[in-house]
């Protein structure tokens, strides 16, 4: 609950700084920080989506926009502008958007909401290298400024392959669409992962985007950060007195961060085969989760302060010296998963039969800070694992002395605090408890907080939250370019080491390669079964 308040404060601050914002926002007499009922609605604006016919736009973006409209969180003056290479009229696009929104929306379907929204949906056809089409787009935006009162505010969502970024960004630069001053409002850009494929390419991409837009106007979406539980991690750590005192190397034995998927590559063969698990998941989602788990307390709950702390942690990450022993990559072989036979990675459609791409990666990282020195962070991600689960497990040291006899505590493991990111969002605390009876016997029990049980209302879809934040100009949940570059600095040596190696095979439906189990066994630990 306090996040909404903090969020409104941070936007109020950024609103005050922006010279181009309407004066009214700075001193709206009806906005009282003590008034927690009023939702913060973005200023009048346009959302321009490039590649609006793509998968992501249909499954996530358009439904999220409908959900926002349905919850009354879009401004009255709002335009959704689609741009794609189709010979379409506004109406054709509207049909596509409606079908997409209806099929994937989280909230109930309300025809009235849609009919209101559909009046504000525009489409500009054209290919990305077509100067005329971009002139048309710029002209349309100018016209909308008057007719729809959007005041020159626009966010551009690049839902396109990164290879097309340069073309599109150059076009925006040429037409001055990205220019805050020329537009008389704000212009922001939303970029999806992958943010490059190594440090060099990420730097080139960042330079390009930051050159066309100003760095503050670039929003990099990592949809994991839009998840309620990830934000709850900050509440858990920094709003409570209970956990922070033990959140360090004195008490923590190790941390395990897992993101497992039961699906295969789902028709993304071309992209995935060139990318692999480490670049696809480890570089962004897992390292962001690690940063949030390990960062120091930000001085205040604002975008800048949080990003500063995250960056410090990311820069302090160290790789093990012996990569051969503590960095494992695997690839799924054929096997059985959830009662069905699934094919091997190399037999997937579009994958070369001798592909060396990993579908599983596990690595031991360290963090060179006073708080975490000596605590291993075990990260793993993979496809075709037994179940879909993402969690952060903080595993505490054993009590230094047990007054019980060894046999009494045989079943006592490490205390654990597990943040379940998905599914069954929540927190589990695992600790020892006496088994009823005349004997002193201690065994592990779990205390559970289920987000979904406690708050059964479905939490907003990550994209909903993130798009709203972009329109509000709140960058708290978006990684900064330095964070992206710091993450690549972790991944690049791994990729270099793995170059040319064959990944270890694991059977689909197993918890990853044997080598990953051996990696923990070498440290005298074992993976938690999530």
């Amino acid at each position: 609950m306090s996040t909404t308040e903090d969020q409104s404060q941070s936007t109020a601050i950024s609103a005050g700084e922006g010279p181009s914002l309407p004066k009214g926002l700075r001193s709206n007499p009806l906005r009282d920080p003590g008034d927690r009922r009023l939702p913060r609605v973005p200023e009048p604006c346009a959302l321009v989506v490039f590649g609006v016919t793509g998968d992501l736009a249909r499954k996530k973006l358009l439904p999220a926009i409908y959900d926002l409209a349905n919850r009354g969180l879009l401004p009255a003056d709002f335009v959704l502008l689609g741009f794609a290479r189709r010979d379409w009229e506004d109406g054709d696009f509207e049909d596509l958007a409606k079908t997409a929104a209806k099929e994937h929306a989280r909230t109930d379907w309300n025809e009235e909401v849609w009919s209101r929204l559909s009046g504000d949906i525009k489409f500009v056809p054209g290919s990305f290298d077509d100067d005329a089409a971009f002139d048309e787009l710029a002209r349309t935006l100018d016209e909308l400024r008057e007719s729809h009162g959007i005041k020159g505010n626009a966010a551009f969502y690049l839902s396109i392959p990164p290879s097309l970024f340069p073309t599109v960004l150059k076009q925006m630069e040429r037409t001055k669409m990205a220019d805050n001053t020329a537009s008389g409002g704000w212009r922001r850009v939303v970029v999806e992962k992958p943010f490059g494929h190594d440090l060099a390419s990420a730097k080139t991409l960042n330079a390009l985007v930051d050159d066309v837009f100003t760095a503050d106007d670039v929003f990099r979406i990592d949809h994991y950060l839009g998840k309620e539980t990830v934000q709850n991690l900050m509440a858990l750590r920094f709003a409570n007195q209970l956990f922070e005192p033990v959140w360090n190397a004195n008490y923590v034995d190790s941390v395990q961060i897992t993101m497992a998927e039961d699906v295969g590559i789902e028709g993304r063969a071309a992209f995935y085969d060139a990318t692999g698990a480490a670049r696809d998941v480890l570089q962004n989602h897992l390292l962001q989760l690690l940063a949030l788990t390990a960062m120091e307390e930000p001085v205040e709950f604002t975008a800048d302060a949080i990003r500063t702390e995250k960056l410090k942690v990311l820069r302090a990450i160290t790789l093990p010296k012996d990569l051969g022993a503590f960095a494992v990559r695997g690839q799924y072989d054929q096997g059985w998963l959830a009662g069905e036979r699934v094919v091997a990675y190399r037999a997937e459609k579009g994958v070369s039969p001798d592909s060396k791409t990993e579908s599983y990666a596990a690595v031991r990282l360290g963090i060179d800070t006073r708080r975490w020195a000596g605590v291993p962070f075990y990260m793993r991600t993979g496809k075709r694992l037994p179940r879909r689960v993402t969690e952060i497990a903080v595993i505490f040291k054993k009590a230094p002395h047990l007054p019980f006899s060894h046999t009494d505590t045989e079943e006592l493991g490490h205390n654990q605090l597990v943040v379940r990111v998905q599914p069954d969002e929540g927190v589990t605390l695992k600790f020892g408890s006496k088994v009823p009876g005349s004997m002193m016997e201690v065994r592990d029990v779990a205390m559970d907080f289920l987000y979904g049980e406690a708050f059964t209302e479905s939490s907003p879809e990550a994209y909903e939250r993130l798009i709203l934040d972009v329109l509000l100009g709140d960058a708290t949940l978006f990684p900064r370019n330095e964070e992206v570059e710091a993450s690549w600095r972790v991944i690049d040596p791994l990729e270099e080491f793995w170059q040319g190696q064959n990944p270890q095979l694991y059977r689909a439906g197993e918890w990853g390669s044997k080598a990953a189990d051996e990696m923990l066994a070498r440290d005298g630990r074992q993976w938690r079964r999530p």
Binding site: D32, A69, E453
Partner: protein, 324 residues
């Protein structure tokens, strides 16, 4: 579900504990206890509202119905259920007869979730003086519903007289969409407001509170002028630079008309009592803007400076009627 006839408070506490055990997973995160005071005829409405709110806030619901105080023998009937028709949380329905009704807190106190905030909600009838209802004295937040009283405008006035920080009324909750729309209209305004008028039913508490809120925030008098409908039909805004906005409620849609610009239509969400109750339960601290708006409506000042806890005032309707 456990049903107990002619029972005691202790038995109800035991039944709740038993339900929690047999219910499988013991409900993990109770955020609050909601005590609903209602009349038998409103059971269905309250149940629906509570089920909606309970799905957003993990809570224990205690529904209290007090019947014929003059019944010769006091009696308590109770229903205890978890995850039933009152939503996913725990619920206890208490029917109190005879003099027990004057001591209802003796049954509810042991049933409150340990160390969790208590919210009292009077659905059917708002007490004249909350301190006279022991159920309101133990509550950290008190939600009233003057619209169901015989004379809502008078009841609202009485709310101001009896106000303590932590009180709110659902006639205030109902105007949140209006307030959000107005605040958004001010976001894009480039000069201060010159004149505002709320059109609607001048004796409607919501219309009064909206005008009161605008007056308290803007420092100008905002009248409620008569228009068709029993609620708020439109609000007109005039700014010092000559801009004007007309916002009209057109059946769950908000039409915004500005000279020189295209009209815009925004959805005005269709909100049930449950949605509004859920909004009330989001925050359990005092609602200052409500206090200010209520002050502007009633002409009373310093509402938010009053102390927030009440002391029980013994009130026996039987004696009161004898004396009266």
């Amino acid at each position: 579900m456990t049903t107990l006839w002619d029972t005691t408070g202790t038995a109800v506490v035991q039944a709740l504990a038993a339900e929690r055990r047999t219910g499988g997973a013991v409900t993990s995160g109770l955020a609050l206890t909601l005590v609903v005071v209602l009349e038998e005829k409103d059971t269905a409405d309250v149940e629906a509202a509570v089920a909606t709110a309970a799905s957003r806030h993990p809570m224990r619901v205690i529904m209290v119905m007090r019947h014929n105080i003059d019944a010769p023998v006091p009696r308590l009937d109770a229903e205890v259920s978890i995850g039933g028709r009152h939503g996913p949380g725990e619920s206890v329905v208490l029917r109190m007869f005879g003099r027990l009704a004057l001591h209802s807190e003796s049954v509810t106190l042991p049933l409150l979730a340990p160390d969790a905030p208590v919210v009292a909600w009077w659905y059917s009838k708002t007490p004249e003086i909350i301190a006279q209802d022991p159920l309101g004295v133990f509550a950290d937040r008190r939600v009233t519903n003057v619209i169901r009283d015989a004379d809502p405008a008078r009841s609202l006035q009485q709310r101001a007289v009896d106000y303590a920080p932590g009180d709110t009324d659902l006639t205030w909750t109902v105007i949140t969409p209006w307030r959000a729309a107005l605040a958004a209209a001010f976001d894009t305004a480039s000069s201060p407001a010159k004149a505002l008028v709320v059109y609607g039913n001048p004796v409607d508490p919501s219309a009064q509170l909206l005008a009161g809120w605008l007056s308290s925030r803007l420092g100008i008098y905002v009248p409620v002028e008569h228009a068709q409908g029993k609620y708020i039909s439109s609000v007109s805004l005039e700014f010092q630079d000559g801009h004007s906005v007309q916002m009209t409620n057109e059946g769950y849609k908000l039409l915004m008309r500005r000279p020189g610009q295209m009209d815009t239509i925004q959805p005005f969400p269709r909100r049930t009592t449950g949605d509004m109750l859920a909004e009330e339960l989001r925050r359990l601290d005092a609602d200052q803007p409500y206090g200010e708006a209520l002050g502007a409506v009633s002409g009373l000042t310093g509402l938010n400076d009053r102390v927030s806890n009440r002391t029980h005032i013994w009130h026996d309707p039987a004696l009161a009627s004898q004396e009266g």
